[in-house]
Symmetry: none
Subunit: 409 residues, 2 copies
């Protein structure tokens, strides 16, 4: 008996074929604001998406596990067909990759948050009032100057990201472990020391280095009026995931606006395509431009999630409608398979990510259309895709794009 | 790379939140008696359950594996989110826990059945005409007196249960193995010797001890007019399951009438709440009384199954209606999540447990209502829960009750 993983199957059976588009509206799934009402997706006027649902097959996707509220990083890994419970990645790694930082395999990365603290060091604002990005750049440069040479054997790199967020990278030999975060997650408490849970010498050594850096960095910020403290989260190394282009034989491009989604795409080996503008139409401009250079295209729409988090039902509806408007341009490129889905649900009613399964459609000339005639959470119930784990989507798209051979004779 | 089990996820991400009620109608699923007819659940007049289905989400639950007819013990383990194929438990352990016996971790327990046999020892009635419980007590005391000191290094404990059923416990060092049962399962055959399948010295030793006890016990019963023989089934130790309250962070109460269901609840660490009466309304009396003391409530309704086993379609329908009548009292307590399901199907038409998936509804303020407007097997097909493994229910209820944090950032 041999044990194939899903990835082994894909590596062995893939061949050339049509192009695949994975269009992700972040936080797509929703809830009615009132009993008996419609969800955001059900409320949107979206003739093109409805046509895709009618011509295609639909279902509800489980990003992580039944009942588990997904973070964005693991939820995207799942859409890329990596089981996120098996492949764990740190937020620091995602953030570093997201800003295009050339992370090395042995680098330790953390997400940094500038914060404010009172005289006793207790955190008073975990995001330092979301300071502007220019201020973030100035503070990161200050930290770089003050702590870049803190350790004789290690290089410290501090890179600004956006608002209160920065990336901390430690480069040198023998880093590792399972490191806890410094963020107490509530205000009024002192930051926590980094602790290693692996029990390894490497982990203890790394925790000590990080703690020393945090102390030096906070000292350097002590006189800053807007951000006199900081926290580190998701402190880890690149987990070295299997490479997406090799597993599927796909030249893969990511068309994303936000750093973290670029980061998770880079993490699996996709190429990030830069483009001017931030709206869905700008993303499709870029798609048209690079269509002949790649086989797979991940398009990430952020604002559906942002509006969901804000509790802004109507703005989320309008963003879905804006995406609907660009669908004909994507279809005009004649993809072999087009997936429209979300990484997770973000109901405006809950103002938060949620565990509800995600409405999903797969359109392809070889799809057997199911009974759904519109694209919506309830239209997708009982659809041809059923209730499925998100990692199943890509193998299915591969087949519909004519890219997978037969298993057995 | 880390490998999380589902329980690891729950242990790591649970926090406080709303209360969860798991209402189990044993053997709930059914079949029409005639082609074109309705099932028991579909036939019942049950406005409250129908309302829950309309406001909630529905589906069909697979207790063990597709096509596998479930026993009650494993089917309940599955509802408690323990995969019963992975976590095997002996019927003796269940029975012992069910009568409140203080089973120790190294005890070997078996379910005993008083039986009748002919002059050659062949079983003539596997249940000894279901002798009365008083007779059962007398016979158990007789066995205790006759065999309690059979082994110098081991303690033998015989406890009556109900009708023809008793518990046999062997206490002492080095017990174990994978032991077969003595019950030939048909009349007209001689009982079987206990055989160990583990091949271990411990197993061979234990099998020999049990066989010696069975021989001595049958000799002690030889002159009994109503029960001159016995059989042992499900001979095993407590498997030491992970504890439900620790996995989920739930103070868990079981409101059951029958010993075995109390037993399986105790086995995972729930507390069994005693109450006067045996009807659903008495169980809800108790629920109201202990509502503030626990976070999770398992309510077990037995008679839906008993009537199914009897082939009494109408009585099963009426029992469902009796449960329907207490639903408003449960809702008045404002649970965060309410599950109504069965442990398995027991169609009156088959007079037996069956493998048919089990109609299930989940009601919560955060549920997206699906298209089902009544509670029934066919209404649940295509519901929002899909066709799912029963172990998924509890994580889902945890999220809906607001008790789970986010996975990843």
């Amino acid at each position: 008996m041999s044990v194939f993983t899903e990835f082994d199957l894909m590596r062995e059976y893939h061949h050339s074929g049509g192009k695949i588009v994975l269009l992700v509206m972040d936080g797509l799934g929703g809830l009615p604001m009132q009993p008996g009402g419609k969800t955001e997706l059900e409320s949107a006027v979206k003739p093109n998406l409805d046509r895709l649902a009618a011509e295609g097959t639909t279902g509800l996707s489980i990003p992580i596990r039944v009942g588990i509220e997904p973070g964005s990083g693991p939820a995207h890994l799942s859409l890329f067909s990596y089981d996120p419970v098996r492949y764990e990645i740190g937020r620091g790694v995602l953030e570093a990759l997201g800003i295009g930082f050339d992370l090395q395999p042995d680098d330790l990365a953390a997400r940094g948050n500038f914060a404010t603290a009172d005289a006793e060091g207790r955190i008073t604002d975990r995001r330092a009032g979301r300071i502007g990005t220019e201020e973030c750049k100035r503070l990161a440069a200050k930290l770089q100057a003050a702590t870049g040479n803190l350790f004789p054997d290690y290089q410290v790199i501090v890179e600004p990201v956006k608002e209160h967020r920065f990336v901390f990278v430690l480069r040198g030999p023998g880093l590792g472990g399972e490191l806890s975060e410094t963020d107490p997650l509530v205000t009024g408490k002192a930051p926590l020391p980094v602790v290693d849970a692996s029990g390894s010498a490497e982990g203890a050594h790394t925790a000590a280095l990080v703690n020393r850096w945090v102390e030096a960095a906070r000292a350097a910020l002590a006189d800053e009026p807007k951000a006199n403290s900081l926290n580190l989260r998701g402190i880890a190394k690149d987990p070295g995931l299997p490479r997406f282009p090799q597993i599927y034989g796909l030249r893969a491009a990511a068309l994303a606006v936000y750093p973290m989604y670029k980061g998770v795409a880079r993490l699996v080996g996709m190429e990030v395509v830069d483009f001017p503008g931030e709206r869905p139409e700008h993303q499709v401009d870029a798609l048209e431009r690079v269509w002949n250079d790649y086989d797979f295209f991940f398009i990430h729409i952020k604002k559906t999630d942002s509006y969901g988090e804000d509790g802004n039902f109507d703005a989320k509806v309008h963003e879905i409608e804006a995406v609907d408007a660009v669908i004909p341009r994507i279809l005009a490129l004649q993809p072999g398979a087009l997936i429209v889905t979300g990484d997770h649900s973000t109901p405006a009613k809950l103002k938060s990510h949620s565990w509800h399964p995600v409405p999903t459609l797969l359109w392809s000339p070889t799809v057997l259309p199911d009974n759904a005639t519109t694209f919506g959470e309830r239209a997708c119930m009982g659809g041809g895709l059923g209730l499925f784990h998100a990692t199943n989507l890509l193998p299915l798209a591969m087949s519909h794009a004519g890219r997978l051979g037969r298993f057995g004779a």
